[in-house]
Amino acid sequence: MSMGGRLLHPGLVWLLRRTPRTWWRSIRRRFNGWKGGLLALFCVFFALMMLAPNVIESLLDRGADDGELAARARDFGPLIMLSMTAMSLLAPAQRRGGLYFKPPEIGLLFPAPISRRQLLIYHVLSRAQIQVLSAAFMTLVIIRHAPTWYGCVLGILLALLFLQMLSQTVALVTAAAGLRLARPVRFLVFALVLAALFVGGSSAVAQLQVNNGPLAAMSALVAHPVVQIVTLPFLPFASTFAATSILEALLWSAVSCAVLASLLAIVMKLDVAYEEAALAVSRDVRRKLERMRSGGGAMAMMGPSSAKFSVPHFPEFGGAGPIAWRQTVEIVRNARAVMTSMLLLLLMPAIMGGSVFFASDGSGNRAQILGRVLIPMALMFSVVWTQNISFDFRRDLDRIAYLRSLPISSLAVAAGQILPASVLLAAMQFVTVGAVIVLTGLLPLPVVPALFPLLLPFAFAVFALDNMLFLLFPHRLDPDDAANVGFMGRMMLTMSLKFAGLFVMLAIAGGIGAGLGFLAGRSIVVGVLVAVLLLVAMDVVLTFLVARTYDAFDPGRDVPA
């Protein structure tokens, strides 16, 4: 047997060939039953809504647009790829230094008679299979922004393969350098990228100062010689994407393939004993992914803080107190993730607001215009953002059987589960909206303290709807499942239902509040008070509904694998 001498072990070839079938099985299983059917419908609907217009538009003759699109893709593509590389350096696997292998790969392939190099080639190829899927999806999303469909297909696929191999090379280099050096190596690369952007950023700022808008600033940034040098390795991929003829696309694809081949040669040459680093990284990543899988969202990747703050016990309230106390402890012990989440919540409207600010022509009161844009934007983001602060049933999917065993009524459990996260969300909204009001002067300052009691019933409604929909359509994110298309459909379904529910609630509360306020002599105070009271009453009804859904939830049947 000379299995170790072959380029790729026959067992690994078998496994790679089997992968598309396993993906298909995974998709089929996700769409089982009436709920699965509904999700499948939503997936198709979502795909048609989002992707079909892109494809149709790309097929139409756009004539003169092509040149402009090509120029933009060639200019900004390398920078976008550089940013993606920098982001991937922050990924959990890179943080520790080493390749990430899935648990079955470690358990079944590491002790098997497969050489290290064969396993490495398998790692490259198996991850490339996933990139092909991702490239297909990304192509459909951004095809309308590409000059040609073939350039788009080739460019995206080659770019994703390059990013993947670059990340594998960095992982191997850090594994070779040792885990202790992983952090400094990562930091150094990240610092270099930042330094280049900082140097190039000066010309971008100069463009902003003369009020030339963000596009001119970005053009100045990418035209800076330092940025051009740093982004040079990404140029062939952006140029493939930007190609306006088949010949050009093929030529740039050939250059891109040469770059990929060189990277593959480096990966193969780096015959380091990566197994142990891979084991440590995989354990680390696994732990974080498990936390995310159990419903903590992306922020759960950070894990609990080391500081053990204590929280005083709450009054019993029929059992809701201890349940709420437990969730509050979770929030406090995950302060780091909560703070990051809050920072991102502030950042996203700030970025969008910034672009609106710079894009405006300077007439009128810019600050007030900004405030009017930012407040609804911040509230909308916070509604979408709840997955990342899901200190409720979503995080307790594996503990529902335990919760059911407690001598506490389902109504008290539902209230106790939802309230702490709602208070947290209301606090986040309060800080964001309050900051906007203070900075823009949109409303008088004395209004700010009154915001919290207004925001709390709204936040409670958001979480109650989230939890009810989750208990109806329970799911977990499976990070190892490349064909996790059901997740997207489920997300779209629950998000649509959540927004519809919120719209109806706000319309009823707002409509009746406005009507009664009008009757009370156009009193805003009466109107707002009535609306809030109505929202509170609807929250009570929602809590009963969550309790009913929780009662109907069968941990033996409904907990997803």
Binding site: P10, W14, L15, R18, T22, P113
Partner: protein, 252 residues
């Protein structure tokens, strides 16, 4: 044969295993026992070539695990603790994968026989994702036995198994040993493995505390009677103060 000579393994500054030495000969079934954190899994993973030893020599069927890992692994099977299976492969496909990896020919009848033996025959087309912990364990055991390894290592193999499966596993392990395989298994269920194993290696905090047949270890512990159980030996060795003569003999 599994040979461990002067094996040490350090993680950063922590020494997980220190100067460990023992041999498992063909036909022997050796129990690797010790409290949590004693270094059992580290030792098994190092012999399986997953972890690189910091010092010492590990060999399987005459092949050095570090120098010639593929040949060593070809003679070896490891059943890890809570075996992670490929979620979207069926039980039968796991056997098929094993057959591909070890380049087995005409393995199907043996595969079917193993599935019958471990009561998995009627679930052969079930996906791993739908299996209970015990069934995943049995699938991993069937995969491990499929290529008739010369060295068989099992990390906590009894966890999750029902009494019938435990009995079947015992008989399969005994058959493998009778066929000339060297078997090394770790377990906390001392009462369960006492009558299965022909010898024991007892670790504490990464060091060898005792090794040999139960009689040999007992003879090094005068405080214990000649009928002392493995559990009594274990507590005396891991919580007692005296290093045993058996440990010294094994280290030599």
């Amino acid at each position: 044969m599994i040979v461990v000579e002067g094996f040490s393994k350090a993680y950063d500054d922590r020494l997980a295993v220190s100067a460990l030495g023992f041999t498992v000969r063909p036909g022997e079934i050796v129990g690797l026992v010790g409290p949590n954190g004693a270094g059992k899994t580290t030792t098994l993973r190092s012999i399986a070539g997953i972890l690189r030893p910091t010092a010492g020599k590990l060999s399987v069927a005459g092949h050095d695990v570090v120098e010639n890992p593929v040949a060593a692994k070809a003679a070896l099977a490891l059943v890890p603790d809570d075996p992670p299976l490929f979620q979207s492969l069926t039980i039968w496909e796991h056997l098929e994968l094993t057959a591909q990896i070890y380049q087995l020919r005409d393995w199907e009848s043996r595969g079917e026989e193993l599935l019958e033996r471990f009561h998995l025959a009627d679930r052969r087309d079930t996906l791993a994702d739908e299996l209970s912990r015990g069934m995943r364990q049995k699938t991993a055991v069937c995969s491990a036995f499929l290529h008739e390894p010369k060295a068989l290592m099992l990390d906590e193999p009894l966890t999750g198994l029902d009494p019938r499966a435990i009995r079947n596993l015992y008989s399969a392990i005994r058959d493998a040993a009778a066929g000339g395989a060297a078997v090394l298994l770790s377990s906390h269920l001392l009462g369960q493995i006492e009558n299965l194993c022909t010898g024991f290696v007892i670790l504490r905090e990464g060091r060898l505390n005792a090794a040999g047949t139960p009689d040999e270890i007992r003879s090094g512990l005068p405080a214990l009677g000649e009928n002392a159980s493995l559990e009594e030996i274990f507590f005396q060795v891991t919580e007692g103060t005296a290093e045993t003569d058996a440990a010294t003999a094994a280290a030599e």
